[in-house]
């Protein structure tokens, strides 16, 4: 087949072009894009006239001026997130303990029923103490915060606020050598990291897409919100007394989000200086008009699409995990259960990073889904003795304290949950998106090392200063 352009000609031109590109000090792409933008701007200035008293437009502009301003953008963002968490934490307490009561009440009857049947103790153990209890815990601990948090978040989204967050973060991502659209994929990751990883397809350059994929996990997803909120409200907040407890807890969750974002930027920056070197590319971020949220519709939709969806997934995974945990906690080798053996074996290392062996075991068992880490933890603590009944959220606190927890334990559990490897589903998605075993391993090991490192440093500092 005759070639349109001869091969040598083509190579000659390409060499020529690359030589010309080399001698340019400023990026040519930037120059081109900038000129086009300038020209568009100048023409629009000349031919477009705006009447000032048109309400919506002016309202949008004014609001954008505040919400995306350098001075107010971040404080407002933090305040809004804080309010969302505060409402979530304050509102979830009561329904949570009601649900807990309900499940415990059910458990008593189930136990009586099994006794009436004359079922062997292990059947009762596996089905009631294992399966039923873990499902009960997942529902009562996770449902109320999710039923409040997701609709609130959806309302912010509906109002058109999320693109403004992306806009505020855009310049930081550019400075970190990453793509501005990464802020959008990050916002997606707040919902679900697997979805966030898929969303990275919107980033065209493979280098920047890889950075976005590898760091998506540093923002807490649906599965980890309940863990963070629960930890913050039970231990850190609770310790400060009731009045400020809720407020404190919401601050702490906001703080965790900030740590996650900071880590995202830091890791993006490090990657773009080392493994994934390069310069960020240009793009235009759309700021859609603000809309009055359709409150009823948004709430209903978010409860069905998100809350119940996540809950269902959690229950499906928690049920077998509960059985496995119960079995591990009740099969004895020597004088200890298998679970205790594993936990004891992990204990020295876990202690060094401010956790304990059971927590680490729970994280390992929780690889399939982050939602079940805390339920597994509760299960394993319960099976080791001290308490046999739990009918109140407040008792969770004493359960943890009985197992030697301090605020450092809770803090590091939050940090570890925030920073450690992504869940099984997300890893699988990463493998599919990158089509590379190597990068999938990086996506798991890199965050794990960071989580261990950060927890280790925090634990050593806190202990070194004698704060616990």
């Amino acid at each position: 087949m005759p070639s349109f352009i001869e091969k040598q000609e083509m190579e000659r031109i390409l060499a020529k072009a690359s030589a010309l590109r080399e001698e340019q000090e400023v990026q040519i792409r930037d120059q081109i894009v900038e000129r086009i933008y300038d020209q568009s701007h100048n023409i629009a200035q000349d031919v477009v006239r705006r009447e000032q008293n048109k309400k919506q437009r002016v309202f949008d502009d004014k609001l954008d001026h505040i919400l995306t301003s350098r001075l107010w953008g971040f404080p407002i963002m933090l305040l809004l997130l804080g309010v969302v968490f505060w409402v979530t934490i304050a509102g979830a307490n009561v329904p949570s303990s009601l649900l807990g009561d309900f499940f415990f009440w059910g458990e008593t009857y189930l136990t009586q029923f099994f006794m009436w049947l004359g079922a062997p103790a292990w059947v009762h153990g596996v089905l009631v103490l294992g399966l039923y209890r873990s499902v009960g815990w997942v529902v009562s601990v996770m449902l109320p915060p999710m039923a409040i948090f997701f609709p609130l978040f959806a309302l912010l989204e509906d109002f058109g606020y999320l693109p403004r967050i992306a806009f505020n973060l855009d310049r930081f991502f550019k400075k970190a050598g990453a793509h501005g659209k990464q802020s959008l994929t990050m916002a997606m990751g707040f919902g679900c990291n697997a979805a966030g990883v898929v969303a990275c397809r919107i980033i065209e350059s493979p280098r920047e897409r890889m950075i976005a994929i590898l760091t998506n996990n540093f923002v807490p997803c649906n599965g980890r919100w309940p863990t963070l909120i629960l930890m913050a409200s039970i231990l850190l907040g609770g310790a400060m007394g009731l009045a400020y407890g809720t407020l404190m807890a919401s601050f702490i969750v906001v703080g965790m989000v900030l740590v996650g974002i900071a880590m995202t930027l830091f890791v993006s920056w490090s990657l773009s200086k080392t493994l994934l070197r390069g310069v960020p590319s240009h793009f235009t971020l759309e700021l859609p008009p603000y809309r009055k949220p359709q409150i009823g519709k948004t709430i209903v939709r978010s409860i069905f699409d998100k809350t119940l969806f996540v809950l269902r997934r959690a229950v499906i995974i928690a049920a077998p995990a509960g059985i496995i945990t119960w079995i591990l906690a009740n099969i004895r080798i020597g004088d200890q259960s298998v679970l205790a053996h594993v936990a004891n074996w992990l204990q020295p290392f876990a202690h060094a990073i401010g956790l304990d062996g059971y927590i680490l075991t729970a994280f390992i068992l929780g690889l399939p889904a982050n939602e079940i880490v805390v339920p597994i933890l509760i299960m394993s603590y319960l099976s080791t003795g001290a308490m046999t009944e739990l009918d109140d959220i407040a008792q969770l606190q004493s359960l943890f304290l009985d197992h030697g927890w301090t605020w450092l334990t809770a803090l590091n559990l939050m940090l570890f949950s925030l920073l450690h490897y992504p869940c099984g589903t997300t890893l699988w998605t990463i493998a599919r998106e990158t089509k590379s075993k190597k990068w999938t391993v990086v996506a798991a090991v890199l965050p794990l090392l960071i989580a261990i490192g950060v927890c280790f440093i925090v634990a050593q500092i806190v202990r070194g200063l004698g704060l616990v």
Binding site: L14, I28, R29, I36
Partner: protein
Amino acid sequence: MRSQHLFHKFGIRVDLPEQKVIALAGNPNTGKSTVFNALTGLHQHTGNWHGKTVGYAQGNFTFQEESFLLIDLPGTYSLLPNSAEEQVARDFICFAKPDLTVVVVDATALERHLNLVFQVMEITSQVLLCVNLMDEAKKKGIDVDLNALEKKLGIPVVGTSARKGEGLIALQQGIYDITSGKKIPSPAAIRYSEPLEKKIAELEFYLKPLLQGSINPRWVALRLLDGDEKILQEINDWFSESFSFSFQGGEGVAAKCLHL
């Protein structure tokens, strides 16, 4: 020859050989599809671009006894081939060489949308600008001076409110005027900085004889300087095949014809 090319490369069927091919480009959410529907009515069919998961629609309309084939390109923000949509839009404008490319922009966000207009004007001079959503702009108190815009850009400009059916006759007239040669657009090319212009000129000099008038050499030079090294290979692939137009893959084409 061209209709074969269009079918072979893009899966687009030209009903009549003398039909004028019009590409409709624009950012997403500009009412581009509304313009398309308003012009073609029921005379359209939809499908996917060859080998891409990007949807497309084509339709016919007649104006002053001239028949036009309108191709609705995917909505894109730019023509830098970053995504499948942008690739399709760019390839069509640059390789299928439509008789005219109509760029639809949003009157309420003209500045942002002009970027695409400039990018299209760098590829081809056969461009008409359709400023849509004039009604919405009016509602928001935004006034666009279309005459001034036409002078600044050097291409015909038509204002429409496609949802209300306003300005469609003028749009058709504009399309007719350009494709029949009554009006010849002369787009205001963007001038870059002196050193960059020098580089462009240098590459253009080499490219001109190679491209044999197939594609605007200035645009190819810009893409090469931009770092798009694949562009030459792509040009080669497009034009080599059309030069030695063969019956490879002819079965597939025939099967599709029967199917259609």
